[in-house]
């Protein structure tokens, strides 16, 4: 049996309400902005970034796994906001987590699905027998341009998964699948601060096509149907798309409920579906099946069919749940504070 032996997630304590952003640009909070239905999103502190978020999530995952960090053979971090343009996030995180030097480290990048890519590869190494444990993290401190619809949703957070085998597995991975095409729906050129997107093109031909194709294929590959699953997580760029994808695939909103974090978290990009999975694992009972299908612009989707084992419940309390972090100590920011934290002010030089 191969799968997750430890999971963890982290959100910063800062929030900004979508109403606060809307007021900044003279818009009502209902109707116009694409983020309708979202209440607030997470904002990283000025001293936080993808690396620091990955370290927190990684620590939680290692606590739940209960293993010596030096037994981890690979660390992969997927993000679209790696702090350096050239220098891996993974080396800092590997040192901070005490993984030792005998570890394979790589940064992944594929818009919002870089996190599930890291998971895909980490799992493969363990399955191939190359190593006993591999750690995959999806984390982002996503940026939205001022006055752009993405500003309502782009947020910060991350989730980490230690993959392993045998008795330690708390959530088995039964099947994986991936689809890809060159669909330019959302991109950022070198040197540009903010991404650009192709408006409504990001919907049907991009998000929906890949998620639905990947989901349909993995259901067939694994011999399952929508009814086989107690939980499903689809990438959450806003609160409408995942519910619409669910409907197309025959999943009910109730099946999405445990991992449906976007309304109070925003879109954590490479952290989105991984964090949805972490939230599900905070609650899933032994034997429950989980479907995770991510989406990354450019485009592609990674799919996972997972099943919680009896070991899951016992490992949970070793780290804080994502729900406890989302509901716990929160600091609301004004737009001015938010702009300062997100570096939207420019100084000379």
């Amino acid at each position: 049996m191969f799968g997750i032996v430890g999971y963890g997630a982290y959100v910063p304590c800062y929030r900004i309400r979508t109403a606060e952003i809307a007021a900044q640009w003279g818009r009502a909070s209902e109707g116009e902005p694409k983020g309708k239905g979202l209440v607030e999103k997470t904002v990283p502190g000025m001293d936080e970034d993808t690396i620091t978020i990955s370290v927190e999530a990684g620590r939680h995952a290692l606590s739940r796994a209960g293993i010596d960090p030096r037994r981890v053979g690979a660390l992969y971090i997927g993000s679209e906001s790696h702090p350096y343009a050239v220098k891996p996030s993974g080396t800092v995180v590997a040192e901070a987590l005490g993984l030792g030097r005998e570890v394979h480290v790589a940064d992944f990048e594929f818009a919002c699905k870089a996190g599930t890519e890291a998971m895909f590869c980490a799992l493969s190494h363990v399955k191939a027998g190359e190593m006993d444990f591999a750690l995959a993290i999806g984390a982002d401190t996503a940026q939205g341009a001022p006055a752009d619809p993405l500003e309502y949703t782009a947020s910060a957070g991350g989730a980490a998964f230690v993959f392993g085998r045998g008795d330690l597995v708390t959530c088995e991975v039964e099947c994986t699948h991936s689809v890809t095409s060159d669909t330019p729906d959302f991109w950022r050129r070198e040197g540009n601060k903010y991404p650009r997107h192709a408006g409504r093109y990001t919907g049907e031909p991009a998000y929906f096509k890949h998620i639905v194709d990947c989901a349909a294929a993995i259901l067939e590959k694994s011999g399952t149907s929508a009814k086989s699953f107690q939980h499903a997580v689809f990438h959450m760029p806003n609160d409408k798309f995942p519910l619409a994808a669910a409907k197309k695939l025959g999943f009910s909103p109730a099946q999405l409920e445990a991992g449906f974090l976007v309304r109070e978290m925003g879109n954590t990009y490479s952290g989105s579906s991984p964090m949805g999975l972490a939230a599900v694992l905070d609650r899933a009972a032994a034997g429950e099946r989980i479907l995770v299908v991510s989406y990354g612009s450019g485009s592609g989707s990674d799919g996972f069919v997972l099943r919680a084992t009896a070991e899951l419940a016992g490992s949970r309390d070793r780290a804080p749940s994502l729900r406890a972090q989302l509901d716990g100590h929160r600091v609301q920011l004004t737009y001015a504070q938010y702009a300062k934290y997100r570096g939207k002010y420019h100084l000379n030089g």
């Binding site: 502190g45 936080e48 620091t52 350096y84 040192e95 901070a96 005490g98 716990g328 100084l347």
Partner: protein
């Protein structure tokens, strides 16, 4: 900061690696060649506790240039559970939340990142111990 200087200190900045004197058991952070307690030159690796309590603190409002945009920020002396004291920022705090003895736990954060394109300096800070 210079890259070699930064890299040398990674074991302390990222992992709180310290040393314990083999003779008098005093913990030194950072590790020292000569024990401050008994003068012995023989020590073994030790790691510090991640949890501690506030000894005293301030809110820095006039900051040196590399920290200018972060001001105001809280800096404190924290006494760790193993008795060692360190100076560090208290992240995600403004000062009113703190009191003598407030429990805190260690996190990794960006400490400095100058706009000139130099390396990003990560290091330990503390946050109020709410969840763990």
């Amino acid at each position: 900061m210079s890259a070699p200087r930064y890299a040398r200190e990674i074991p302390q900045r990222y992992r709180f690696e310290a040393a314990r004197c083999r003779q008098c058991r005093k913990i030194s952070f950072p590790p020292r060649a000569v024990c401050a307690g008994c003068g012995s030159e023989s020590s073994e690796p030790a790691s510090l506790s991640d949890h501690g309590k506030i000894v005293t603190w301030t809110v820095v409002r006039v900051a040196p240039t590399p920290f200018a945009l972060q001001a105001p920020y809280v800096v404190a002396i924290v006494e760790l559970d193993d008795g060692v004291r360190v100076t560090a920022q208290i992240a995600d705090a403004h000062g009113e939340e703190l009191d003598f003895g407030t429990p805190v736990r260690r996190v990794l954060r960006r400490v400095r990142a100058e706009d000139d394109g130099g390396i990003i300096e990560y290091g330990y800070k503390f946050v109020l111990a709410r969840l763990t």
